[in-house]
């Protein structure tokens, strides 16, 4: 016996009719994209559920993939069987035994097909008895069972579902607009991207690259991070901005204590223009309060001065250890800790101002004209798109 399909329940049901349609369409689309590596699967949409028909694809792998799709509340494996009591009994036992940790259960049978000769209450009893007779050390618990076996006798067939697996929650990516994520090679920004995607936001990323002061490997790290994020967003574009000239000019012409603040302001200006050109309405950063010099309240105030775009900071209230845990969970940690500097130490001031002000930053900037440098950086920006399922190093495909 095999599981025939996976049943998908989605959360955040308090949606208006119109939004709900859009939500469902997008979720359906995202699931199809996510399951591309399993070409025999088929996604079916009904009134308030979705079903993934497995057609022989490995059930555990498909389940794991689906658990990474935002907008899904919970999932269950389901067995489909012909409508005879004997077959339903076997199916119920199979579904129960699929989880070998379960010690207690209850059966909830429902008869949509009233022609089926056994009443729901009787079916509950018969199935419960059958499972008890064929297992050891297992008991019925109607209040708090490890597994609730849901049996539905419909017109076409009978369906048995067992344990609920938690979904990723949140909203389907692509239902709440787009944001531009400032992606460094560190631990924080990918996590910020993940949490933003969780709220249904599609992410494009911007990265500032300063060769030869930063290495090819540092850029590769960012591309690998973007690729890792496609697990949750299907598609992620990375805009790599050549930042060397701007950085050199800051180093040459701005006071050392303010170079960090002004560098971040320049990054914000470029990011805003990029977002504006691409009709993206917000920026996202991995800033958390009080971690480093650029993340004091004063710094945030001085840096934020150059844009009035909303800046989403999902990590602002999180502890570093929680951020690290989450980055391990989502699979970006190992990439983030690769030992290449994401920010060129040559340009790092020995004592950055932890309490910069907007006024001073602006007055220093007024001494030099950055307009052309920013324009040039934007013009020479390189865009790379990743899709889930892409192998990142295509040129190696033949070799391996």
């Amino acid at each position: 016996m095999n599981f025939e399909h996976i049943m998908i329940r989605y959360g955040e049901m308090a949606l208006k009719k119109k939004n709900r349609n859009q939500f469902e369409r997008r979720l359906h689309h995202n699931i199809i994209e996510k399951l591309k590596p399993y070409p025999n699967t088929h996604v079916k949409k009904t009134r308030d559920r979705m079903y993934v028909l497995l057609n022989g694809e490995p059930e555990d792998e498909v389940m794991k993939s689906l658990q990474e799709v935002f907008g899904i509340h919970s999932l269950s494996f389901a067995v489909k069987t012909d409508k005879t009591e004997e077959l339903i009994k076997e199916a119920a036992l199979f579904a129960f035994q699929a989880d070998d940790t379960a010690k207690t259960f209850k059966v909830s049978a429902k008869r949509t097909d009233k022609q089926f000769p056994v009443h729901s209450q009787d079916l509950n009893q018969h199935l419960g008895g059958y499972i008890l007779a064929h297992t050891e050390g297992v008991r019925v618990d109607v209040h708090n069972p490890d597994v609730e076996l849901k049996v539905e006798v419909r017109h076409d067939a009978a369906y048995v579902t067992s344990k609920d697996y938690p979904g990723a929650g949140g909203l389907p990516v692509g239902t709440t607009g787009k944001s531009l994520l400032l992606l460094s090679g560190g631990i924080d920004s990918p996590v910020a991207g993940y949490l933003t995607m969780k709220r249904g936001v599609e992410i494009e990323a911007v990265h500032f690259h300063s060769p030869p002061y930063t290495s090819e490997r540092a850029k590769q790290k960012v591309l690998d991070l973007a690729k890792a994020m496609t697990r949750y967003g299907n598609r992620v574009k990375v805009h790599v901005v050549p930042f060397t000239k701007v950085q050199q000019k800051i180093h040459r012409e701005m006071p050392e204590g303010y170079s960090m603040t002004i560098m971040r302001r320049m990054m914000m200006r470029i990011s805003e223009s990029l977002a504006n050109n691409r009709e993206i309405l917000s920026l996202t950063t991995g800033e958390s309060l009080g971690q480093v010099a650029s993340q004091t309240m004063e710094s945030m105030h001085a840096i934020n001065d150059v844009t009035n775009y909303p800046i989403i900071r999902p990590l602002v209230s999180m502890d570093k250890l929680d951020i690290i845990d989450l980055s391990k969970k989502i699979g970006t940690y190992d990439i983030s800790i690769r030992p290449f500097e994401d920010c060129c130490t040559v340009f790092l001031p020995s004592a950055p101002k932890t309490r910069p002000t907007r006024e001073k930053a602006a007055s220093y900037e007024a001494h030099a004209d950055f307009t052309d440098d920013l324009q040039e950086a934007l013009r020479q920006t390189e865009t790379i798109e990743f899709k889930s399922g892409d192998t990142i190093n295509k040129e190696f495909e033949d070799l391996l």
Partner: protein, 382 residues
């Protein structure tokens, strides 16, 4: 040529050699070099690791590339023993392991470790009960092979893994060199801590292989030096060999999926044909791995048979070397308690996914002929 010595080594796939050549000439940089060229070699190395891990069903950071089976077994056994000797100094293995396991264990005995060498039954299998009763308070490692290289016996590694999981202080190592892509084996499912595989047994190149090391497992390294392979194994990585290894894994894994049934059929036919030859005894258990058939032909010196077949460009192997006065005994067969007649006259025929049924037919015909030709001389000398 009919090559039936695939348990000794296999012929590399052409595609494997192509990859090796291309990587050797195009990506020869040292992955640890800071420059961009070094970065490319590093990226190729990382991609190789990702794919190897995917093929083995493990995580990327759990694969350590090695120079092959002997290194993997030594790294696992000595590495665990030396890193965890404060916990205990007792190791359990079997009498029919590969020499790289047995000798690694013996070397540890000289350092004060105690080793239990479990016996096997007549089919070459250890029992889970014997493993369980050998476990002591100070046991730190169980090392059991998945498939025996001489007989093809399949060991109950899944059950041993299940047992070992009840002893959290104990590590479980599986020498999977002969079993890889021949018998179904799920590293994660079998609850293994360490697992050795080798490239040249699956149509890769000599000098390549990997050790699976479960996340969080401490090993005392065999090689100290740079911090390659997450400090498990110092030394500039053999990038061309590694890429060729991963290619071989992919191609052979595909062969397993598509051709395993026909390999099983071929072995069954070979066994039946051999059983029909007068004087031939089959030593391999019926339910063994699909690529190994071990036979004895009492009265015939195995080396002579091998040379005679070699003249016809048919290659099989023996474990017992030729020595007129003291014929070497196959330790594996002796452990299965075969009599001396059998243990001194063993021959091993080992197949691969590239073996053709027609080659098996020719081999059987030629073996019959050879035995007939040799009969008179052998009878006179005995």
């Amino acid at each position: 040529m009919i090559y039936l010595d695939n348990s000794a080594t296999t012929k590399p796939y052409d595609a494997v050699l192509d990859s090796f050549n291309k990587v050797s000439s195009t990506y020869f940089a040292n992955p640890s070099s800071v420059h961009r060229f070094g970065g490319e070699a590093e990226r190729l190395l990382r991609q190789s690791k990702i794919q190897a891990a995917e093929l083995m069903g493990v995580e990327e950071d759990e694969m350590v590339f090695t120079s092959g089976g002997t290194e993997g077994n030594n790294m696992a056994i000595k590495g665990i023993a030396l890193a965890h000797q404060a916990r205990g100094k007792h190791i359990i293995t079997s009498q029919i392991e590969h020499p790289s396991v047995l000798e690694a264990c013996r070397s540890l005995e000289s350092l004060g470790f105690k080793v239990t060498y479990l016996p096997v039954d007549e089919t070459g299998r250890v029992t889970v009960d014997s493993v369980e009763s050998a476990i002591q308070k100070d046991t730190i490692l169980i090392s059991i092979m998945s498939v025996n290289n001489e007989l093809g016996s399949i060991q109950p590694v899944e059950q041993i893994g299940e047992l070992a999981a009840h002893y959290p202080k104990l590590f479980f190592h599986v020498d999977h060199v002969q079993g890889l892509y021949k018998t179904p084996f799920d590293i994660k499912g079998a609850k293994v801590d360490l697992c050795t595989v080798s490239g040249h047994k699956v149509h890769g190149l000599k000098g390549t292989g990997a050790l699976y090391v479960k996340r969080g497992t401490q090993l005392f390294p065999l090689f100290h030096g740079g911090n390659q392979e997450a400090d498990y194994r110092a030394g500039t990585e053999n990038v061309p060999g590694i890429v060729a290894f991963v290619k071989a894994l992919r191609l052979t894994s595909h062969q397993q999926q598509t051709n395993r049934e026909s390999l099983i059929r071929m072995k069954r036919d070979l066994r039946a044909a051999l059983a029909g030859i007068n004087g031939v005894h089959i030593n391999s258990p019926e339910d063994g791995a699909p690529h190994i058939v071990n036979i004895s032909v009492p009265g015939y010196k195995p080396e002579v048979v091998i040379h005679a077949l070699g003249e016809k460009e048919i290659y099989i192997s023996t474990k017992s070397a030729c020595s007129s006065k003291h014929p070497d005994v196959s330790a594996v067969l002796a452990a299965c308690r075969f009599n001396e007649e059998r243990t001194t006259s063993a021959l091993r025929i080992s197949l691969s996914y590239q073996t053709e049924p027609s080659e098996i037919d020719t081999f059987v015909t030629e073996l019959k002929a050879t035995l007939n030709e040799l009969k008179e001389t052998m009878e006179r000398s005995s």
